[in-house]
Amino acid sequence: MRKLSVFVAMFVLGASAALAMSGADAIKARRDLMKADGAATKPVVAMLQGKARFDLATVQKALKTYQNAASKEPALFPPDSKTGDTNALPVIWDDDNMADLDARFKKLGDDAAAALATIKDEASFKAAMPGVLQSCDDCHEKYHAKRQ
């Protein structure tokens, strides 16, 4: 009995430690994901502008990067990550905006998955990719600003 309660206590402690990521950790984790998105996007923008040769593997890698980030990002905005080393605007934590943010990440993930299926060559890339990237603009317009 005693063993069991110790076990349960340890389990609960361990689980809550895993769940309760500190605000600073959440900020770092989401920044790293966004940085990976940016690094993957850079060659894609060059291709869209005609400044780099179309490369399907690079495009697919970018789309998978977005999918991965979009699936993890919604959990990385806990209330204590509102302030700190972040350019996320405090308005994210207002009213219904958290649900809106989650919906936007879901849309990005869905759009990336759809584009992975449709993009086969340069023509389909130029047709489908701008729509995926539109999510970046839309979300950053509302939720992101340089703070200093």
């Binding site: 940016g38 923008v45 603009d137 839309d138 950053h140 317009e141 600003a145």
Partner: protein, 302 residues
């Protein structure tokens, strides 16, 4: 006895100060020559480029919809001075600018004076637009007349005292409005001059990208070195040669035309709307802007 004299003197001084204040603050329209030149017929096609360089729709489009050419006004601009509601600039004759003369339009942009002869608040960036060429002003006027008339107007400005005293804008103009000989047109083949003109005139970049002093005027020595966004959320970065030292001219042009920065980040907040507008602008204009910003040293003449 002395007290009465002192009181009389004080009253006289206050009256004199008020008279001087009234005398130096009247709204002054553009010259008759500028008004006449601005009243020549404009080219709406060319005016469309001016419209998107200035990003008129960012402030004037009807809120809660996506058509940039529905210019019904009414979007709230929150500032430290109170809330401004940009007016309807659609060609509606009652609520918009449909009944304005070309001279009225030139006065608004180049002198900050309304058709009723009152000062406009510099939330409307005429401290930049006063540098615009006469040709761009009349072309823009012609273009606005091609957009659909929208009826209705937004709320009146809700400003804190003493900013609610419109006449006081006259003092502000004395302090901050440069003396400009409005150019007739800018030579599009002179890239250096074109970039300088687009950045400081219609593009009005300095309005957000510069720090402001206590009275809300741009600190001239730190023009384009970055400033707080008017809504207080975040900052517009330094876009001089100093701030852009890690960016190439091509990086600047790419950021303006696509929204993507050299790191693959995307320009957010108020700049998203600016980029949405600049996407409609001819490439040579963006190249000239990029070139000018990359060469502009802080403290230099605009």
């Amino acid at each position: 006895m002395t007290a009465r004299i002192a009181l009389a003197l004080a009253a006289a001084l206050v009256a004199a100060a008020a008279a001087v204040a009234w005398f130096v603050t009247p709204p002054r329209a553009v010259s008759a020559e500028v008004a006449a030149a601005a009243s020549e017929p404009g080219d709406p096609e060319a005016g469309k480029d001016v419209f998107y360089i200035a990003g008129c729709e960012s402030c004037h489009m009807s809120p809660d919809q996506k058509d940039p050419l529905r210019l019904g006004g009414g979007l709230e601009l929150k500032t430290p001075f109170g809330s401004f509601y940009p007016p309807n600039i659609s060609p509606d004759p009652v609520d918009g600018i449909g009944a304005w003369s070309a001279a009225d339009f030139a006065n608004a942009l180049m002198a900050g004076v309304s058709p009723r002869g009152e000062h406009l608040y510099p939330a409307f960036p005429y401290p930049s637009y006063c540098r615009m060429s006469i040709k761009d002003v009349r072309d823009l006027f012609a273009f606005l007349h091609t957009t659909p008339p929208i009826s209705g107007r937004g709320p009146s400005n809700a400003l804190k005292f003493p900013f609610s005293i419109r006449r006081a804008v006259g003092f502000w103009k004395l302090l901050y409005i440069p003396k400009i000989d409005h150019p007739l047109a800018v030579d599009p083949t002179d890239e250096e001059a074109l970039g300088r003109y687009l950045v400081n005139g219609p593009g009005h970049c300095a309005e957000c990208h510069s720090p402001r002093d206590f009275f809300g005027g741009i600190v001239a020595s730190r023009r384009l070195t970055g400033g707080p966004l008017p809504d207080g959320k975040g900052k517009a970065p330094n876009i001089t040669a100093e701030g852009l030292k890690d960016w190439s001219e091509d990086d600047v042009e790419t950021a303006l035309s696509t929204g993507f920065t050299p790191s693959g980040d995307v320009l957010g907040s108020a700049m998203t709307a600016v980029v949405r507008s600049l996407k409609q602008v001819p490439e040579p204009d963006l190249a000239a802007i990029a070139r000018y910003l990359k060469s502009y040293r802080p403290g230099g003449a605009p």
